[in-house]
Symmetry: D3
Subunit: 241 residues, 6 copies
């Protein structure tokens, strides 16, 4: 079993860095880095909920995701120029929203929505996992703000949420794929968990390929240990002033 | 363990019916029914491939999904009236496309695209799984047509592909959720497999909820046995004249 | 005067079949078949009216029309992919709406809208006439539902409405053109009538061509007798349980 | 039988005025006035044809129609602000295109398209008929320009085309309805004819109403005599330098 | 210093003609001509204000600008066909709106919006300046109408507003550029002033070029004298019945 | 004359910081900061030019501008969600494009386009000036890359380009307005200059207000001295490795 392109072991995640209060306007905001992948995550409070959630005394969390044009190797045409949001963007922002909602007690949040915006500044694989992991901290800080301002009484965030991508490349199972690894992966799996050891979302995809149940279970195990590392990093981040 | 709303056992799928050659214009077309859920799937050949696949001698398979307005309990506003495709539609049609691509040898297909259109006529849960399972037969018939017309030499479809949704409702794991079950599910999981026993896609989602690894594995097992039943139904369908 | 491609006489309509209650969610729904042309028509009640009809105590009827991609010989790009509704669709759905409104007493309907959706499953000419003729039955069943549920007191549908296309092909006047006939027609005429013998809409079009008044009058006569046949079929349909 | 609001007899059209060469850039352009209704019609040559007409040596004629916002009594929101073309606009511009195509020998025009743009400056009923009648002169002048520049050899316009609206108001049949009459009409009919006495398009619509065959035939007769008057006006217009 | 293409001196504006009450529906409407450039300007009252201006007792003025397709030498594709408003249009209509707002006392206008629509019929340079200069008269007439109808008590228009474009062509500074001059200009400057000698907007642009401060100041002086001429023409126009 | 909110003198610009090579994928990229205003500017080479520039041997420079949702105090709805680009964005990106084009010799660049993307991360006034000033460095680095890779022979950037906003607040003329100052300004002026002392663009706007020629000239002078400071900062930035 040889080293990976950047010298990491197969079960080693890239250096993760979380910079809180990155945008001064937002109630919660972080710059999260997974190696060269960088995402700005902000959390914004809106004092209303979507129609399906109205008059229940419950809150809501939703997410939007985008990439600035040159975050990618080939410049991305802006969706407003193209005239539509592409399917991949839709898929990712729906995943982020579902993942973060699993961390929140909507009753404690009350009838308001938290918008989590994830804007990719530089993409080197794993942007959706970085968005979930960083978006969680923005959401957490936003909720802490609501408590500190006495807008809500109790912290509605109930546990940590983080995500990692793992995959199989040339028969080897690796964690936290960078872009060049992701492009060559036979199978790609994104796992979202909370800090109580529960799964929130498992998405395993074999583009033009397949995988066995055994491979699947090994990938799941590797993702669990990587996510445990992310929880430690998240915990350290929120302890800083 | 009580019976389900429609009297089924927890591990029992709904009656599945596949009507081939449903639309006379299409190279492949089926009406597939999973209980009350009905989807028209057609396969159309286009003699070109997307830009990223050009000049490689390889084919492509892509899918589109939509629901007629009153396929749902509450009338759906058409995307052309709304001015955009919603995220759920994008997510589903991407899943169908990836799932069906895993069944096809692109070299044998040659530089042409097969478009699989899945239009839901009536929705009672499981429309994405019915679309994959029925879309596979439309794709299969379309390829058989290409072979019979001597447009291609060998059948590019290499094995069967089918999909099922399983979920946890009040702590019980059930297969092939109908709409009322799906709405009450704590966890919802879609599994796509091929007839060689390999996994193609696993998507497990806990909307505002979580699930343990044990539950996850039980759901995976149940989905495997349900998909085996779907393979039998598919095999019978293609034997009919 | 020779036989037509499918052996029909010039004044003979294709077999028409109306299947009621085709979609279980809708207040009214039919599958209507004019030969190989098949259209799903549903009627949905919305408890509000458009702005121009507000606060008058009067109802409204509106229609939408679309074709699934492979209902046609050449796959149709979905309007949501294209980014716009094409002009033909607009023209047809406006015609359906006007035709059905002529059957309804808006005072008896009260301030609510009935949406009639016509989705073409397979197109072999005459889709707009099939939509009007089938849409009428969906509308009728929807109104009967409103009466049976005591939402309204009296049946607001006042008479039957049906439509037929007639045309001139190589100098011969024919009724109920199928697609291959329609493509070769010098003149194409759509007539909508009610069961009191009144005209609702007459549209006669000579694409890159013209027609004399005498031809016009003969076409009108032929359409009257064909529509009479459709009224009989509609009447039989609503008598079935 | 009383006089109409503006003192006209029932069979009397409004004063029609055609000002040629109204826009100096266009190959053909007129301002046409039907009473207070004013429409600018321009004809533009494009040296290509739509895909379905390619490589046949044949030309094409197409039309676009729009209204400036305050041409109507209530300001119209621009389609670009609304984000879509409304159905009425689509219906009208398709009618104008079909009507003008009936006047042209596509072989003599050669593989080029003439775009006829009809922009309503002030609307007081009959804008589609004014657009056809004025658009014809713009088209005629444009073709004359092509001949004079030796781009084509023979004049491709083969006869005059004009259009009128007639209707039934309180039981009386009237020609060339102004807006207030049109709003109160029980039945509204647009007839397009050529100067050989042939019909090109007949559209008769009873919004929420019906009409008998006898009424229909009387309307058709009245429209014929009104269109004869329009042909005289068109002929005089093209004689002017 | 030679003569210009149309024989004008460098400091000479084109003949300007203002025709009031050009569209009978509008509360204010003019046809303004700057030589061959012709723009229809209408002013429409709407009894509400945009959200940011609500509940302040203050009014608002906004503008929209468009060109009919063949107002230009090469036919312009309509924005609704293109699917978007182009940037130039946005830039111009924002400029017209800002310029006209500077003329109005929003307190005297009260909580209502005046929409000024500028539709270019023929473009030969200077359309934005003609729109501002003519739009002002439409706005003025609209306000006079509001006063005469006792909807407002005092005239909210406080002074005249007009605009001119000046530029440098082959080293010579010229006023009121026509299209051929504008295309060859090294620098193009639009100045909006009011009749109290105050500046409202100065926009000086060197497309792929630059200009010195001295040139800039000379252009500014020339624009002031041209605008003075426009004020005289505006004053004469509003004196006419 | 009192101090400003942040203690600056009226003629004092905020601290400006330029971080080069901010995005590793782009041929040129900077993070530019004007106080709290932060903009990421990237330059991308595309080996083709727009239609109007084809087959001339000349290049092109174009710009796009956007703000991430929470760069502003109130969250901005993404243009793709809104369905359109707003007018302000169009206006700004056209200004950036024109300003940067004035710095480039298109013959030396050859038939290729440089796309300059300016994405605002945090907005505290002056984002368009920061975008021009930072976009220039991204453009410069991109050209330097083209030369170093021997794609072009000579550096096509001919001089520095920078921009500043000045304004009048309560009668005092101030440079480099931050957001709170900009909101209260009576007049707002953006000036773009090159390092040869030439003007490229002057835009002076009095939203619902006016300004005298004297004020205008004072603002112009102040902007010149501020831009000189920006040139020094740009020059230092490009000297760093």
């Amino acid at each position: 079993m040889g080293k990976r392109a950047d010298g990491r072991a197969n079960d080693e995640i890239r250096p993760v860095k979380i910079t809180r209060n990155y945008i001064s306007h937002a109630e919660g905001s972080v710059l999260i880095e997974f190696g060269k992948t960088r995402v700005i995550c902000t959390a914004t409070v809106e004092e209303k909920v979507p129609p399906f959630q109205k008059n229940k005394g419950l809150g809501w969390v939703t997410a939007e995701y985008d990439m600035i044009p040159r975050s990618a190797q080939v410049r991305i045409i802006r969706p407003q120029t193209l005239g539509k949001i592409n399917g991949r963007t839709h898929e990712i922002q729906r995943l982020i929203g579902r993942s973060l909602r699993a961390a929140v007690d909507f009753g404690k949040l009350g009838e308001r929505t938290i918008w989590v915006d994830c804007d990719v500044i530089e993409a080197d694989g794993g942007t959706r996992c970085a968005s979930i992991t960083g978006g969680f901290i923005a959401l957490f800080d936003c909720c802490r703000y609501l408590v500190s301002e006495n807008i809500i009484k109790e912290m509605p965030v109930e546990n940590f949420v983080a995500a990692i991508s793992v995959g199989i490349i040339n028969g080897e199972i690796m964690t936290d794929l960078c872009f060049s690894e992701d492009s060559n992966a036979d199978v790609d799996m994104n796992v979202v968990m909370n800090s109580r050891g529960q799964l929130i979302e498992v998405q395993s995809t074999a583009e033009c390929n397949t995988f066995s149940k055994e491979e699947f279970l090994k990938m799941l195990e590797l993702s669990e240990s990587s996510i445990e590392e992310l929880f430690l990093i998240q915990k350290n981040a929120i302890l800083e002033k």
